[in-house]
């Protein structure tokens, strides 16, 4: 199976070069392949958000190598890194973070619009197809702010898939939803993972959801404590 993500000895320190320099990640090694569906768990402050930001190319590690689809992110400049992030990675955040000034359909089109510069029919068709896939065809022209939490999270998933990324990073995507909506959203991601082969990396505190993932990685104190083990 193709290697989508590879982390070799990733370290992250804050306040580098000052007396209060703090290392929060102490050499993380992790590999994700196509079709992987992985849960990233760990207590608050363990470094999993920092790790997610580094994997999502939103932050740079202090040391170590990060490869996305075989491309060494450390060798890329800011513009190339931004382009790689836009094309290879999709994001789903806990608070869905749709842009309220746009409709559901326009939110889904946004990554394509940012990448290509001007809207076109192909973008609209792709957005409609994705909204149809997440069951929100009827609400496509609704303003993002006028949708329920579950619906917004579904739109966010559709948006994360807009550029057909190999990797979707979901930061507690169900953390702000009721149980039914949370299960629906999780099932949706699972189905997409199976149908399209998209790799998912989920940060979650929910043991039940984590058990439904193919693999669990536990981060404790900036180190991977357990990898590839299902919870008892």
């Amino acid at each position: 199976m193709a290697e989508v993500l590879r982390l070799d000895g990733i370290r992250k320190s804050y306040n580098v070069g000052t007396p209060v320099e703090t290392e929060v990640l102490h050499g993380i090694d992790l590999t994700l392949h196509a079709r992987d569906f992985l849960a990233l768990m760990g207590p608050s402050g363990s470094g999993k958000s920092t790790l997610l930001n580094i994997i999502g190319l939103l932050d740079r590690p202090t040391a170590g190598r990060l490869l996305i689809n075989g491309v060494d992110a450390g060798q890329l400049g800011d513009a190339a890194l931004t382009q790689l992030r836009g094309r290879a990675i999709g994001f789903v955040f806990q608070y869905h973070y749709l842009i309220s000034a746009f409709t559901a359909r326009e939110n889904v089109m946004m990554p394509m619009l940012v990448d290509r510069g001007r809207p076109d029919g192909e973008m609209e068709r792709r957005a409609d197809e994705l909204l149809d896939r997440v069951g929100l065809s009827r609400w496509r022209n609704n303003n993002a702010a006028n949708m329920s939490g579950g619906q917004q999270q579904r739109v966010a998933i559709a948006r994360a898939l807009a550029m057909n990324p190999d990797l979707v990073l979901a930061d507690e995507p169900t953390g702000n939803l009721d149980t039914k909506s949370a299960n629906d959203v999780f099932e949706l991601m699972r189905e997409i993972n199976r149908e399209r082969g998209t790799t998912f990396l989920l940060v979650t505190h929910n043991d039940d959801l984590a058990k439904s993932c193919d693999r669990i990685v536990q981060v404790v104190d900036g180190r991977i404590a357990v990898s590839g083990v299902s919870l008892p």
Partner: protein, 408 residues
Amino acid sequence: MKRWLPFEWIAAVRFLLDGALQTLVIVGGIAIGVGVIVFMSAMLAGLQANFIKRVLTSQPQIQLIPPDQVARPLRDEPGTVEVATVQRPTQRVISIDQWPKIRAEMQARPDVVYAAATASGSALALRGDTSRAITLYGIEPEIYFQIVKVPDFIVAGEAQITTEGILIGVELARDLGASLGDKIIVSTPLAGNRVLTIKGIFDFGNKAANQRNTFVTLRNAQSMLGLIGGVTSIDITVADIYTAETIAQEIQATLPVKADSWIRTNAQFFTAVKAQQNSNTLIRLFVGLSVAFGIAAVLIVSVIQRSKDIGILRAMGARREQILRVFLIQGGLLGFIGALIGSGLGALALFAWHQSARQVDGSELFPLILESELFIASSLLATLTGVAAAIAPALRAARLDPVVAIRG
């Protein structure tokens, strides 16, 4: 989403529409600012045009006259002491030396529009047992009337001077009890009495000018003033009235004449015009600054409010320069829309003020001058001000760290 619009324009317009109240408030502020600028500029331009029209249609912009006649004390051998007092000589009416050549030179200058030769001097106007002191202007009507718009002030008859004709002012006509077609005697020390027919009566709106100024043909004046073939002044209009003094100095430096510009002869008026222009510029500057600060303040708040959106866009692959452009466009749009509304408001206020503000005699206080250039310049300036005001907030938005922005 309009397909022809780039992402930055779409985002900028949507962000402005999304914060409608905020947008409305700042557009209102810009509109008032631009309205004030348009109103003030157009009104001052009107008032100024009125003043300038009054001043410059009744006098030349530059007048070339013979140099002052000065006494030249005779010097004896080296070492002799000159007399202590040199008496000023009288200023006789004399002609400008080689005036046809000088006039031709003036006419050839690109910054000169018209140059007319005039012979003028004092005379007496007599009718019955009444006499009045007058200034006799001998003119070449076809050119002189382009400089001093006598025909515009004619209230009786017409501005056509024949060999035996004369144009006089309403005050002089009243003093002499004369009307159109009547004959008056014009007396000069050198030529004695000459009978002339009143061909036209003018009203310059200035009592002294209406009492003293009279116009006859150049040839008539030359013979009556003892200036056969000579002229006492060359009257000039220039393309840019505000360069009159510079041109006058240039002429005076190169030719044997004294050159007086309207700026020097109307120094007080010119100072008032300049002060008006300066105060207008200052007001524009301060209004422009307050508009710029208003736009900047609103956009800074917008960047803070939209930091999560900016973070999301950055996470989705939006480049820094795209984010920068989104906010610059917002600044430009705010300035442009505010300027459009403000121009309309300013024009409306000017129209209303023009209708209500009247002079004592009921005539308009100022001519209504609404030039498209003013609106284009105001809109352009407001748009540029908007873009400039947006630079700091846009840079701040573009520099936002997506991780920090998303976390809020």
